[in-house]
Homo-oligomer: 154 residues x 2
Amino acid sequence: MEHAERRAAFDALAGYIRARGIRDTQARRKVLAVALDLPGHFEAEQVLYLLRERGARVGKATVYRTLPLLVDSGILQEVRFDTKRVHYKFALGRSKQDQLICRRCGRIIEFESADVTALRSRIAAEHRFHVVSHRFQLSGLCHTCATNCPLGPS
Amino acid sequence: MEHAERRAAFDALAGYIRARGIRDTQARRKVLAVALDLPGHFEAEQVLYLLRERGARVGKATVYRTLPLLVDSGILQEVRFDTKRVHYKFALGRSKQDQLICRRCGRIIEFESADVTALRSRIAAEHRFHVVSHRFQLSGLCHTCATNCPLGPS
DNA sequence: ATGCTTGCAAAACGTTTGCACAGGG
DNA sequence: CCCTGTGCAAACGTTTTGCAAGCAT
C-alpha cells in the first residue's frame, strides 16, 4: 500500500465522517489503518488479529461495526465468495472488481473489462433499471488446475 | 410448477441417484417435492417449515444434506444474495440465471443474455481459465423505486 | 454535560457434526 | 443382513446485540 493510497483512504474516512455527522474516533482510524496493511482479500477476524498483535485495544464488535462503515465510505468493498464469512478488499481507485475463482485451488484472479461495463449498462437500460453496482464472478478451474486435473472438481 | 416440470425434476433425481449409486430414500423425495412447491427463491428453513406443515417427519440435518444433492443433480441452483444464508431456485430447463436486484424493495428480476455467455467465454479464454459457472448480478434501483425516490438508497 | 461509541460477554443465526437407530439394497 | 442415510441434539464459527462505561463534541 503506497503512501498516496493510505492518505486517500484516511481522507475518504474523514470526509465520510463529516458528511454523516458521526464521530471521529480512534477506533475507526485504527481499524482503517490495519485494514490497509492487510493483503488482497481479508476478513474481519484478520483485522481483529492484527489489531491485537499491534497492541491496539479494539473490541471485536467495533471491528464488525466499523467495516461496513468503511464499505459505505467507498474505501473498502465487500467480496462474497462463500456464505461462511464476508471478505473485504481495498477499493479506492481500484477498477478491477470482477473475479475468476478457481474451485480447486481457491485462487482468485481479478480482472477488469470495459465490455462488462458496457453490457451492464445495456442490460440495465433494457429493464429500465438504475444500476449502482454489479458482481461478475466466473467459477471454474484456473489453467494450472485444469492441466493437472482435466476431469474437473471432484 | 407444472406437471411436466415436476416430472422432469423427479426423473432427474432418480437418474442422479442411480448414477451416483446412492440410495433412493423417502426423505430425499420429500425434500424435492416440497422444494418444487416453494416459490421463486427459497431457503433451507422454508423447506423445513413446509415439510413440518405437511406432517413429514424429516429432520433439519437431512434438509441441509439433501439440498446440495439437488443442486448437484442440476434440479436446483444456489443463488447468493447475501452472506447470511443460501438461497435456492428451481433450475431445470430454466435459462435465466442472472439477476437485477433492487436495493430498496428487494425485488429480483431475472434475465438472460447471450452477450453474458459470450463475454464469459471471451474473458475465460483470455485468462486461460476453464469456466464452469458464473454469477452476474446488477444491484441498484428498479424502475418503480427509482421513480419514487430519485436520490437512491438511504 | 450530552449522548454517540466502545468493549465485553452473551446471544443469535444458519449450518454442520456425532451418534445411535431406521430403512434401503 | 449390512451399511448408507436419518433424526435428534449438541457443536460450530461468524456476526449481532444488551449494557455499563468511555470519550468526542
